[in-house]
Symmetry: C2
Subunit: 230 residues, 2 copies
């Protein structure tokens, strides 16, 4: 078992994990932008982490970075803590949907195994986080996902909101006000390739909602059977 990882290292691993879920290997530039540091800092850190005894990163100059198995486990550990903490902050301390992220981002580096276990127990060992994200199991298995971005859906498809990006409080508040929360079912009414707008209606709602690409790219959905009739 690797000794203690610093906050910075955990942040790098978590970020690289998330980025490499969509794109495979990731460049230092993207990591830098996501983390809010310069590319030079990333190169530096990445070199250190790929030169450890059991390396956490797989890296060779100019070729983009990927996590090793050890790095992936460490990233999932941090992600598990983050998502448990978000749920905990909401359910036990009454934080709102959009407030939890920032606090969890600091606490995730500091809580003990013990704390994590107790929180999980108090919450009933949840599988999904506050924003619908899957929570890695205690053994750090991450469920395979079939989810797609809402952006990819086409007219007449039915779907269920699975997950909403947790790190933009303003967006979260807006989505909540529109009823777009994990579990919500909906039908896509229309899609405009011209401006990347998606018009949809939530189950049991009269109102239609129009969402642009910048929003629909942040929402993961499970696609249900296609709507009967055209």
């Amino acid at each position: 078992m690797t000794g203690h990882l610093t906050d910075a290292v955990e942040d790098y691993l978590k970020t690289i994990y998330k980025l490499s879920c969509s794109r495979g290997r990731v460049g230092t530039g993207l990591i830098a932008e996501t983390l809010g540091v310069t590319p030079a800092s990333v190169t530096d850190m990445v070199q250190r982490l790929s030169g450890e005894d059991p390396p956490l990163l797989d890296y060779a100059k100019h070729q983009g970075v990927a996590l090793t198995e050890g790095g992936r486990k460490a990233a999932l550990e941090t992600i598990r803590r983050h998502r448990l903490l978000e749920l905990f902050l909401h359910q036990v301390l009454g934080y709102s949907w959009d407030q939890v992220h920032v606090e969890a981002d600091r606490l995730e580096h500091v809580i003990s195994e013990e704390f994590e276990e107790r929180v999980a127990e108090v919450l009933g060992n949840p599988r999904r986080g506050l924003h619908g994200e899957p929570i890695p199991s205690p053994g750090l298995e991450m469920p395979d996902r079939e989810d797609r971005y809402l952006l990819e859906m086409r007219p007449n498809q039915r779907g269920i909101v699975q997950e909403v990006n947790d790190d933009d409080p303003g967006l979260l508040r807006f989505l909540e006000s529109q009823g777009i929360v994990p579990g919500a079912g909906f039908v896509v009414l229309d899609y405009s390739a011209y401006d990347d707008n998606l018009r949809l209606r939530l189950d049991g709602s009269e109102a239609e909602i129009v969402l642009g690409a910048s929003i629909t790219g942040q929402i993961l959905v499970e696609i249900a059977e296609p709507q009967a009739g055209a």
Copy 2:
């Protein structure tokens, strides 16, 4: 308002606060020993902290250190968080008496104002911590105390356990097993100046307990009216 204080700075201030409660000004050696760093490191840090814009410490070479008003407030803020967290860990997450200290020591540097407030509310704005310590008010007022060390008590005095030093898990487990917890009433039966042993009996208990100086110096008590007779 001072910007953000690092974990290390908060630890220094907290330690200096506690040490200067008993002794007035404290030397670098004592601080170093308490904090587990070298005296040289303390000198270094102390010089930085006393040279800030609003200084947190009052210091001049070879003369011992004291907190300024700003330093005192910062220390009390950390102490408030620590004590609220200990209570929270116990009452909400089921930590035991002797487990809370270490976890609180890490969390205290990381939680937000918001977190502190919500925890205080969930706990009902408590005035005393898990081990009986007074909790600074939200406005950082610290109640004046009349408490004495158990060590100072003499035969036939009655007392009530007020506070037990929180940072030694083994000692805490022992004291709990003996019924010596905040709120417990007792009578001092005997005191031996020779070996600094104190024999006492808890209210409603048949058994007598003998405690040595190293223990009785860690327990604060409120002295009640003297025992009738004898």
